[in-house]
């Protein structure tokens, strides 16, 4: 199931919230069982085959955690648990990449396997590892199976995070005060959820059309097309990912659960290091706590610090995807971070606007590497950007921004030439999205007063998002 579906919005979510609080009145663990059941349904719908893998993984990791608690060879069990988790992730995510790389280097013909990536495996694997480490470090009081399973499966975060630490989430499930419905939190949760839904359904799903077209047709696009495509694709990734996190945070707020902030206006960043403190914050936290710090962090001299930085970003690149582009991406990002650190004093002397622009430019290069199918394609895209400037914007880019409601509005008003207005709309929509992305997290998530105007705005935006879930497909068959 996904958040942006009719089933979830009109049935699953309201039912879960209501039943959760009702059951909490019956028994202290009843609510947790309901949340667990809801999470099982959420992950299982349309995904039964990979659900079994997840359940097996949960069982395995729980047994390891019991072994860590019970036996003396705690480190061995911990190491084994981590290794098995990483191996499973590697099988699903990296085996074919590994085999195809072998084929390429050694000109062999090893057949690739048909492997589908289970939903959310990258996220829940990291959280399994977090749990084992927390158990090892004795950071948890509640190590029951119910709490552990709920921690992994908790539906607001299972598919795309935020990556939570067990000690920040599990105690909340047991907190008696949080088990009573808090209408202020429910109202706030609704508002935050709507913000996330709006980001995903209106901005992300619109930007992706132009971005995808640009990347798919980059060799024939103009410079203007390609610049727009790269920028809006970056914005698509932001709105899609942060929108999902917002929805998860909003749902949790309704349930009196606090999830950590995952995005904090990353496009405000004045440096690449600042960017990684604002973008996918919980991933950065995980990599810092479980890789950077254990490797020595910045405590073992400057060369080791840089090396550790490179390793962390290399792992981050691999975690994002199985392709040489992600490896190069990771190394590139790591090098940028190192340079940012080395030249910090000099950089801070540069006017902020220039620092902002250079940072934004660098992030866009990240995006090109991230979205390309191959290193060759990344290079082609970058060189295409620097060819003779052609500022014409293709019709396909303009069409990608057509929202049916906006076109209807334009046609209903006495505009002479709607096509010209549509071109302007591209600029307006992109600018609106960009400005929206600059709103800091604490502003987005803060508690708000309940006002009539606020309610009306929420109704309109919520309904707008709901109807935006439905489209009318056209069926183009080129051959027949």
């Amino acid at each position: 199931m996904q958040f942006n579906t009719y089933n979830f919005l009109l049935l699953f979510l309201p039912l879960t919230v209501v039943v959760y609080f009702l059951c909490n009145r019956v028994h202290k663990n009843a609510g947790k069982i309901i949340l667990l059941a809801a999470s099982l349904i959420f992950y299982g719908v349309g995904n039964l085959h990979y659900s079994l893998l997840l359940y097996a993984s949960i069982l395995f990791n729980y047994l390891i955690s019991r072994a860590i608690i019970k036996y003396d060879n705690k480190k061995i069990f911990l190491a084994s648990g981590i290794i098995v988790n990483v191996l499973i992730l590697s099988y699903y995510k990296y085996l074919n990449f590994f085999l195809s790389s072998i084929n390429e280097i050694f000109k062999s013909d090893i057949k690739l396997l048909e492997i589908l990536l289970p939903l959310g495996i990258s996220f829940y694997t990291f959280q399994q590892i977090s749990y084992l480490v927390s158990v090892y470090r004795k950071e948890l009081n509640d190590r029951s199976f119910l709490s552990y399973a709920l921690y992994i499966l908790y539906f607001p975060k299972i598919l795309m995070g935020p990556i939570t630490e067990p000690e920040e989430l599990i105690p909340q499930f047991d907190d008696e005060e949080r088990k009573k419905a808090d209408f202020d939190n429910i109202a706030d949760g609704i508002r935050i959820f709507i913000i996330g839904l709006f980001k995903k359904v209106i901005f992300a799903d619109t930007f992706v059309k132009a971005g995808s077209w640009g990347f798919a047709n980059f060799s024939s696009t103009s410079t203007a097309d390609l610049i727009i495509a790269v920028v809006v694709y970056l914005m698509h990734i932001y709105f899609d990912f942060s929108g999902y996190s917002d929805m998860g945070i909003g749902i949790s707020r309704m349930l009196n659960i606090d999830l950590p902030v995952n995005f904090d206006a990353p496009f405000r960043s004045l440096s690449v290091r600042e960017f990684w403190k604002r973008w996918h914050i919980t991933l950065g936290r995980f990599l810092t706590n479980y890789i950077y710090v254990p490797l020595g962090g910045s405590r073992k001299g400057i060369i080791r610090t840089y090396l550790n930085t490179l390793i962390v970003f290399l792992i981050s690149g691999l975690w994002h995807g199985a392709n040489w582009t992600f490896i190069v991406w990771g190394l590139y990002v790591g090098v940028c971070n190192i340079l940012d650190r080395v030249l910090e004093k000099e950089i801070n002397r540069i006017p902020k606007i220039i620092r902002w622009f250079c940072t934004f430019l660098t992030i866009n290069v990240y995006c090109i590497l991230f979205m390309s199918n191959s290193l060759a394609q990344s290079w082609e895209i970058i060189t295409h950007l620097f060819q003779k400037p052609d500022l014409r914007i293709s019709y396909e880019i303009i069409k990608a921004f057509d929202l049916p409601e906006i076109i209807f509005l334009m046609n209903s008003l006495p505009f002479q030439n709607v096509y010209k207005i549509r071109r302007l709309w591209v600029l307006v929509f992109t600018a609106a999205g960009f400005l929206f992305s600059l709103i800091p997290a604490d502003t987005l998530y803060r508690k708000r007063k309940n006002t009539v105007m606020g309610m009306i705005i929420c109704i309109l935006i919520f309904v707008w998002c709901i109807i935006s879930l439905g489209t009318e497909p056209t069926f183009v068959y080129n051959n027949f």
């Binding site: 009719y6 009109l10 209408f183 202020d184 429910i186 109202a187 609704i190 929202l403 049916p404 409601e405 076109i407 209807f408 046609n411 209903s412 002479q416 030439n417 709607v418 096509y419 007063k449 309940n450 006002t451 009539v452 606020g454 309610m455 009306i456 929420c458 109704i459 309109l460 919520f462 309904v463 709901i466 109807i467 935006s468 879930l469 439905g470 489209t471 009318e472 497909p473 056209t474 069926f475 068959y477 051959n479 027949f480």
Partner: protein, 535 residues
Amino acid sequence: MKSKIWIAGFLAGSVILLFILGYNVYVTDPFFHYHKPLTDKFFYFLDNERMQNDGIVRHFDYDAIITGTSVSEYFKTSEMDELFGTSSIKVPYQGASWKEVNDNLLKAVNANKNIRMVIRNIDEIQFLNEKDDLNEEYDYPEYLYNDDPLDDVNYLLNRDVLFNRVFPMYTYTRMKNFTPGHTTFDIYPMGNWSEAYGKDVVLENYSFQDIRKEEVPFPDEDRIRLIEDVRQNLTDVADENPQITFFYFFSPYSAVFWRNLAVEGYISRLIEEEKTVIEEILKHENIKLFSFHDRTDITADLNNYTDPVHYAPWVNSWILSSIYAERGLLTEENYGQYLSDLRDFYHSYDFEALKTQKDYEDDSEAFIRLIPEIYGDEPFQSISVAVDSAMIQSGIIQAAETVKEQHEGTDGIISYGRLKRQFESQISTDEYILWTDDYCGVKLTIDEAAPYRYLSFYGKKLQDNGQPGVYVYDESGNVVSSYVHYSNLTDDQWHRYLLDLRYIRGKVTIVFNGGYVDITGSPDSSFIFSNINLY
């Protein structure tokens, strides 16, 4: 405000607004999922087969169906009705498997007990399918096909449906000359757009690969699979509905298609497959099976095609007249000889000759060659009326002027400019012209169209985006015939254009529009119509 009240207000407000929106979809029902079209109030654009065909067969009034795939899209239901005395609809599916077409046919026969006739093409390209195959490229709107009311939310709360169809349906009713109704089945689903035909178009990107000498066999397991497909998706529906006569025909692909088979060594195999299908179908009394592959005067003349498989609308007209006259009917007695002749023909055919075939400058030449068979006599005889400047002046001229001494010394009308229609407007050009009276050219009225069979004219682009758009409207405002420009009209030469008026009766209005179709065209666009004749 207390949070409880805010939440209650939010939930109530959302539910009410969603209900209002969904209710409007239900009332207008642009996909006919719930009820018949309200053609006394709204105009329904028919333009999306997979979204609308299901509703059409369940809720429209009709007693005959034309169905099949893209090669059936150009059939005119008005021709069928005139020939067979039916009241027909047309519900083809581009790129469909036999199963998909058959599933819709089953819906139709279950919903409508008045059906007495079905015309359907059989695509040889589908011979390799499994019986339950559907085109995997498509994300089918199952919510429109099933009886589950819960998933109707995908239709009722759908942004595209609301803003591309429902709300515009309300606003169009306020236009000056608005006429409720629906797109005619003559036009649905292809619109009025005209393709270009001939060797130059068909062979534009074609590569003449070597022909394979060895023929591919037709194994038994494939034969069994094909028979299962035929039974489930072609003949079972006929067995279950003995009161309906089914007219099936093999789509008459061009000689280029057969060359593709030859490259794969597939000609004999296809003949064997066709034999299997024929033998299976001939067992059923209420199915009449036709084939026109042996009409190589048509199939080997690329002027009848826009690509290796898609033929021109006049070939559809010819197919209808052939079915009516039982030309090409396959029987137990003749199918063996037919297959043998077909195999011999394509095994010895000189495919190279296709490269040098003449591409008619005026595609209507290919149409004119078939008219005697379609209509039974010479095309241009008996009544003929030249439309001269006096007749043009009796019409309503707008953004145009009459001129003398144009094509072959005849009068003409030069149009200037462009329509104020918005770029990519949902309203088709013909409906726009009707509802707004905006055109560049002349509007003529003919009191009685019955005596006339064709409207012929010559036209020439004079400047920029000038192009011909000629629309014939009946008294109800339906477009009953039309010609819209070639997609590749770039020259400034005289071309002949022919509109079919054979099945049109009563008072008609003919609009000659030479302006560009929307506001993005050059304001200096100009086109001339001349040598206009009614035959």
